[in-house]
């Protein structure tokens, strides 16, 4: 009894000792913090300016002060009351969502196949997919356009989405992640009588959830902010995506930056939501838990 109390006391003492805050920091630490601080500021500045500009009157936007002289919400009212904004928002949302789902399914299906099946030509296929990563998007825009024109895809959702429904990067990422799934899991499922598609879906996919979450964030953001291709492939204002639509505020002579910034500020909300939903899946070490302890 007495010894137990002593033990508790001893362990609470070590707890206290380890929890005591450090009073002084080394020079190395100060430098590290400084670098992180500068990095942080560089990341936050554009966002701060975006929000600040969205609160300014037109005559004030070239004034670099971060705090507006007369902050107001008129820009928000204007953008939200402008019917076009909702259309663009919905276009972007539909396109980014479908593209994300498509990438998650097809990138992982191809990545899984390349990783877990031995078939002739497997290596060549993989290299071919990888090599497309080296071609810049700008070079592909014209062929895409000609293709869209030939198939009548111009000015449609399909036309905006088709180049991104699968990506070489996503395929590569998923292949690399499936390498971390031990073959034993797959073979165990095979012995348990699942067909190959069911093994992919019920066994392999849950084991790479962190990678799928990362891919989802990556693809969603990429499509949500895509500009050049949607600009080229769309003609009618109704088909614009959000970034294309926002850039059309104002005419060539007079760009209405305060409205663009307001739209941009609103359009960051879905990206935050997507990030918050998926980042909790990015928990490392999920795969290892079922293996030797």
């Amino acid at each position: 009894m007495g010894s137990a109390v002593a033990q508790i006391r001893a362990s609470s003492k070590t707890l206290l000792a380890s929890g005591r805050p450090r009073t002084s920091a080394s020079t190395g630490q100060v430098i590290r913090w400084l670098i992180l601080f500068i990095g942080g500021v560089l990341m936050v500045m554009p966002i701060a300016y975006m929000i600040s500009t969205s609160l300014k009157w037109p005559h004030e936007i070239y004034n670099l002060a971060l705090v507006p002289n007369e902050p107001h919400l008129e820009n928000y009212t204007y953008v939200l009351e402008d019917g076009r904004f909702y259309g663009w928002f919905v276009n972007s949302l539909v396109i980014a969502t479908i593209t994300t789902i498509s990438n998650i399914l097809f990138d992982s299906l191809v990545g899984y196949t390349l990783c877990k099946f031995r078939f002739p030509g497997r290596y060549i296929v993989f290299i071919a997919i990888l090599s497309t990563l080296m071609i810049p998007t700008e070079m592909l825009v014209i062929p895409w356009y000609l293709m869209s024109q030939a198939f009548g895809w111009l000015d449609s959702y399909w036309g905006i989405m088709f180049p991104g429904l699968m990506t070489a990067f996503g395929t590569f990422l998923m292949k690399q992640f499936f390498e971390t799934v031990p073959d034993d899991f797959i073979e165990a499922a095979r012995i348990d009588g699942l067909n190959e598609l069911a093994i992919w879906w019920t066994v392999a996919m849950p084991l790479v959830r962190p990678a799928l979450a990362a891919l989802a964030i990556f693809v969603f953001l990429g499509n949500w902010t895509a500009f050049i291709w949607p600009l080229i492939v769309t003609n009618s204002v109704d088909m614009y995506t959000l970034p294309v639509g926002l850039s059309s505020f104002g005419d060539e002579a007079d760009v209405q930056w305060e409205l663009i910034m307001t739209g941009a500020a609103i359009s960051t909300i879905p990206t935050l939501v997507v990030f918050l939903i998926f980042q909790r899946f990015i928990i490392r070490g999920v795969v290892m838990a079922g293996l030797k302890g």
Partner: protein, 354 residues
């Protein structure tokens, strides 16, 4: 009825042949252990039986039907893997029940099976945990449960205990043996631990380089090894091997008295004389080896002594309390019936009863 028959199994990867004709007949309910050094083809044999790999030649027959062209799930087997391979994203209940997903039992029957297996494995309270909340031994039990729930004709275990620590290993070994006595299914168990093999097996299959070297009861392979490899592989510490030549029915060592052989070996032929440390003792009648003690390893009841002799270093067993001192010269002897004679060229046993 034989529950499993392997007929001349050959497996070739690209151009390297890793199995050179494996043949074996396993009786219903037998506990068979495959042992052999790393890379000898134990896992490959198991994977051919399971249908995870295609055979290059030969036949696998389970319960009287040739299953070469059947998928793993159609072979009525279940397998337990070295690193368990239990799904981390599913609870214990789901993991164990996973093997029943595609069976055509009713839901109630499936539940009953699952409860049954859980109680046999004493896992009932753990059913709703995730694998990450289990200890190594418990995870291994889940893996066994997942195999048991399907009540297969043949259980395949690929080194299921090698990731456990020594103590848990001994405990799980006992549990598997009890389990086998209770459920009675045929088990094929792969290990490279010869103690595991000796303690678990009804019959041991010793493999090397894709060949089966000997099949037999644990006592057979221990007392009547078919060749020098089996003799050296089974039993710890390994059997002492002494080079000698045959001269008129006598085996002649590098020095010391000749040993009478009661087998027919042609004149001048080289043979290897094998004697287990357990059978080799200081003093006694008719000593045939003489040397100096270099190392002593006390084991409690006995002491192992390493003795430098003209025929090389040998290990012998001495008294636990009064072993010879280091540096002391000892005479070693063994009962004639405990000597094994092997052909020096082929390594095959020349004993008449092998």
């Amino acid at each position: 009825m034989a529950s499993l028959v392997l007929r001349n199994l050959v497996k070739t990867y690209d151009k390297t042949t890793v199995l050179h004709g494996i043949s074996l007949e396993v009786e219903d309910g037998e506990f068979i252990v495959f042992v052999g050094p790393s890379g000898c083809g134990k896992s490959t044999t198991l994977r051919l039986i399971a249908g995870l790999e295609e055979t290059t030649a030969g036949e696998v027959e389970i319960e009287g039907r040739v299953v070469n062209h059947l998928k793993p799930k159609e072979r009525n087997i279940a397998m337990v893997f070295q690193n368990y391979a239990i799904y981390p994203h599913m609870t214990v209940r789901k993991n164990i029940g996973f093997g029943l997903r595609t069976s055509n039992l009713t839901k109630a029957e499936k539940m009953a099976r699952l409860e049954d297996v859980a109680s046999v494995l004493e896992m009932t309270e753990l059913l709703d945990r995730k694998p990450s909340q289990l200890s190594g031994g418990q995870r291994q039990r889940v893996a066994i449960g997942r195999a048991m729930v399907r009540d297969p004709a043949v259980f395949l275990f690929d080194e299921p205990l090698s990731n456990l620590d020594a103590q848990l290993r001994t405990q799980m070994r006992l549990e598997i043996k009890k389990l086998h006595q209770r459920v009675g299914n045929t088990i094929i168990f792969v290990t490279h631990d010869q103690v595991e093999a000796m303690t678990l097996a009804d019959r041991i299959v010793i493999m090397k380089d894709g060949h089966i070297l000997q099949v037999g009861k644990p006592s057979d392979v221990y007392h009547r090894p078919a060749n020098t490899f089996v003799a050296g592989f089974i039993g710890a510490p390994s059997m002492n091997m002494l080079q000698c030549t045959v001269d008129g029915g006598l085996a002649r060592l590098a020095s010391g008295p000749d040993i009478q052989l009661d087998i027919d070996v042609s004149q001048g032929r080289s043979v290897i004389l094998g004697v287990r440390p357990d059978d080799l003792h200081p003093s006694g009648d008719n000593p045939f080896l003489k040397g100096t003690v270099t190392v002593r390893e006390p084991l409690g009841p006995d002491t192992l002594i390493y003795v430098d002799t003209p025929s090389g270093e040998v290990i012998a067993k001495a008294d636990g309390q009064h072993p010879p001192d280091i540096g002391e010269t000892v005479q070693l002897s063994a009962s004639r019936s405990r000597l094994h004679v092997f052909d020096a060229e082929t390594g095959m046993s020349l004993d008449s009863n092998a």
